[in-house]
């Protein structure tokens, strides 16, 4: 556990970067510090490994105050990842990853073996081990940065805008992989970001800081969306927080998929016409994974080919969130949201109305106050109408 106890950082010119911050980052969880620039989130994080010394207050790591230990020794127990990875340009990937253990005396051969393991963990094959940083893409550099932070197997990780410097597609991918990795390694992580979406996606706990370095609210993402502590937090988490909150609500038993006929890619026109409901036929791969919808009146030729597919629909897993479910329903050209099971096979479809009903049930089951239900219901209502008007 990392614990901030009434921590203040004030500079001689009178600027207060962090103002009486008290916060606990629980063991094995991801705590995200988020806020506008100048809110002191990075300063707060850097006080943990004493890159910056607090003016007053104490920070403890597992009960030990950080100020009592040698700063260098302390830093070696805390993995650190920064925005542009900060890889050593003169070392190859494997040597970058193992730089710290090598510094502490680990043998070359052992280091190599461990480097390859770590690289695999972050999704890089052994062919990357001998490349130099300039030969890697931004996303790959960031993966190496994460592997390097884990090299000495530190119990704590500090991450300063780790995914901000890569494009949105790579960022989403890195975030997913980071969550998967964290499920395996269970480190105590403090992550800084200015991106509230990233904070809500990654954080077990999200601490929102405001200008002047004051903590506005620290809570689980769903709690933050459902019950923002004040207007600042409400404004910061964004206007569509009702919709976002659905991302933290499981489908549970709330929705039962309706059976959906489907044809395999390459089926004949006759087969498609026989199976289709109201003009749209769902097409799957031979293994049963949905690949897209085809409109009967726009079929081109005697067979259903990839050219015939409308790929606009997203799919939701039966054990996914209400947000995925709603999105699947909204994005489907047929108006029926596609559900898949854990293996990715077709499980059935849901109508927007069914999703809206599930949302209502979830809201009435969990929300003690009217606020949550109030913010969800209108969103669900308007959502139900959208596809009906545009696609059917």
């Amino acid at each position: 556990m990392i614990r901030f106890d009434n921590v203040t950082k004030a500079y001689p010119d009178g600027t207060v970067a962090v103002d009486r911050l008290s916060l606990e980052a629980p063991t094995g969880k991801i705590t995200v510090l988020v806020g506008p620039s100048g809110c002191g989130k990075t300063t707060s994080m850097r006080m943990v490994n004493r890159l910056i010394e607090p003016t007053s207050g104490t920070i403890t790591l597992g009960g030990q105050p950080v100020s009592g230990t040698d700063a260098t020794e302390l830093r070696r127990k805390i993995g650190y990842v920064i925005q542009h990875a900060g890889l050593f340009p003169h070392k190859n990937v494997a040597d970058n990853v193992m730089a710290l253990p090598r510094l502490l005396g680990l043998g070359r051969r052992e280091a190599r073996t461990r480097a390859l393991e770590l690289l695999e963990r972050v999704g890089l094959g052994p062919q990357f081990a001998d490349r130099y940083p300039w030969q890697l893409s931004g996303g790959q550099q960031q993966r190496v940065g994460v592997a390097r932070a884990l090299a000495a197997d530190p119990p704590y990780l500090l991450m300063d805008e780790p995914f901000s410097a890569v494009d949105p597609v790579v960022r989403a991918q890195l975030q997913e992989e980071f969550l998967r990795l964290q499920r395996e390694i269970g480190k105590t992580i403090v992550l800084v970001t200015h991106d509230i979406d990233e904070a809500l996606k990654l954080g077990d706990q999200v601490a929102v800081l405001r200008e002047g370095g004051r903590l506005a609210q620290a809570a689980a993402p769903a709690e933050l969306l459902a019950r923002p502590a004040d207007a600042f937090v409400a404004g910061f988490v964004g206007r569509d927080r009702g919709y976002r909150a659905l991302g933290f609500a499981g489908t549970g038993d709330g929705v039962i998929p309706a059976a959906e006929p489907a044809v395999v890619l390459g089926a004949t026109r006759a087969e498609a016409e026989a199976a289709a409901l109201d003009g749209w036929i769902l097409v799957t791969a031979p293994g049963g994974e949905p690949v897209g919808w085809a409109a009967l009146d726009r079929l081109d030729g005697d067979r259903v080919t990839e050219q015939d597919l409308n790929l606009s629909a997203t799919t939701a897993r039966t054990d996914g969130t209400l947000r995925e479910l709603l999105d699947a329903a909204l994005s489907s050209p047929s108006g029926r949201g596609v559900l898949v099971d854990a293996e990715g096979h077709l499980a059935g479809t849901v109508s927007p109305t069914a999703v809206a009903r599930a949302i209502e049930e979830a809201a009435s089951a969990t929300a003690p106050a009217g606020a949550t239900a109030g913010s969800v219901e209108p969103a669900a209502g308007s959502a139900a109408e959208a596809p009906a008007g545009s696609h059917l």
């Binding site: 920064i82 990875a85 900060g86 050593f88 340009p89 003169h90 190859n92 300039w134």
Partner: protein
């Protein structure tokens, strides 16, 4: 005496002079580098020292070499013919050239690299030796090449004091109104300069296998 005869008669002496010339160029290069490393680091770390050290280095470099060769024996109470004067003078020039080079080389290390080394738990000397200096090698090697060529050229001035090296061939040729020694001295100086330059280039490349190469050399 024809050029060929002169060369044949003096082959041994020419070889000696070449060896001296090499030695008097290389030794100050190494000493200058050793002195410039800590000074350059100092200049790099202190925002106040940097302009002072760089200005001082520039000033030292403008002192005429002949003046330095004559002044040094007085300052150090060495004999005027002692080659150590030449070594010291050239070491001073090399240092003056390299202080700024080392400081700028260290300054060119990307800030996020330094930050991550610091945050990972490198102590300051570990960071200097394992991270900063290796990354500064291309800049320092480029500075060394300039210093090497400049040394090869300045060493010739020592002929006026009678310290033996290829410059001696210039004075000799001048006194005899005979061009062969002069041409020989010029050619050999050029060869030494080119060889040293090439060696430093090669050493720099072999120390930086990590650098993207535009063309193979």
């Amino acid at each position: 005496m024809t050029a060929a005869e002169w060369l044949r008669h003096n082959a041994g002496e020419i070889a000696d002079l070449t060896a001296w010339h090499l030695w008097l160029s290389i030794l100050p290069l190494l000493i200058g580098l050793l002195v410039a490393l800590p000074l350059g680091r100092l200049a790099h770390r202190s925002r106040r020292l940097y302009p002072m050290l760089v200005a001082l280095a520039g000033l030292v470099y403008t002192v005429p070499s002949l003046a330095l060769f004559i002044l040094l024996p007085k300052l150090l109470s060495t004999r005027i013919l002692d080659p150590v004067n030449v070594v010291i003078a050239l070491s001073v020039y090399t240092t003056a050239l390299l202080v700024r080079v080392v400081a700028d080389g260290l300054a060119a290390v990307p800030a996020d690299v330094i930050q991550s080394a610091h945050a990972m738990g490198y102590r300051s000397h570990q960071r200097l030796i394992r991270i900063e200096l290796p990354i500064a090698v291309p800049v320092i090697a480029a500075g060394l090449r300039v210093a090497a060529v400049s040394n090869v050229s300045i060493v010739s001035m020592a002929a006026l004091l009678g310290v033996p090296q290829l410059g001696s061939l210039f004075t000799q040729g001048f006194q005899l109104h005979f061009f062969t020694p002069i041409v020989t001295g010029v050619v050999l100086s050029l060869v030494i300069a080119l060889v040293l330059d090439g060696l430093i280039l090669l050493a720099g490349h072999s120390l930086t296998p990590w650098q993207p190469r535009r063309s193979a050399r």
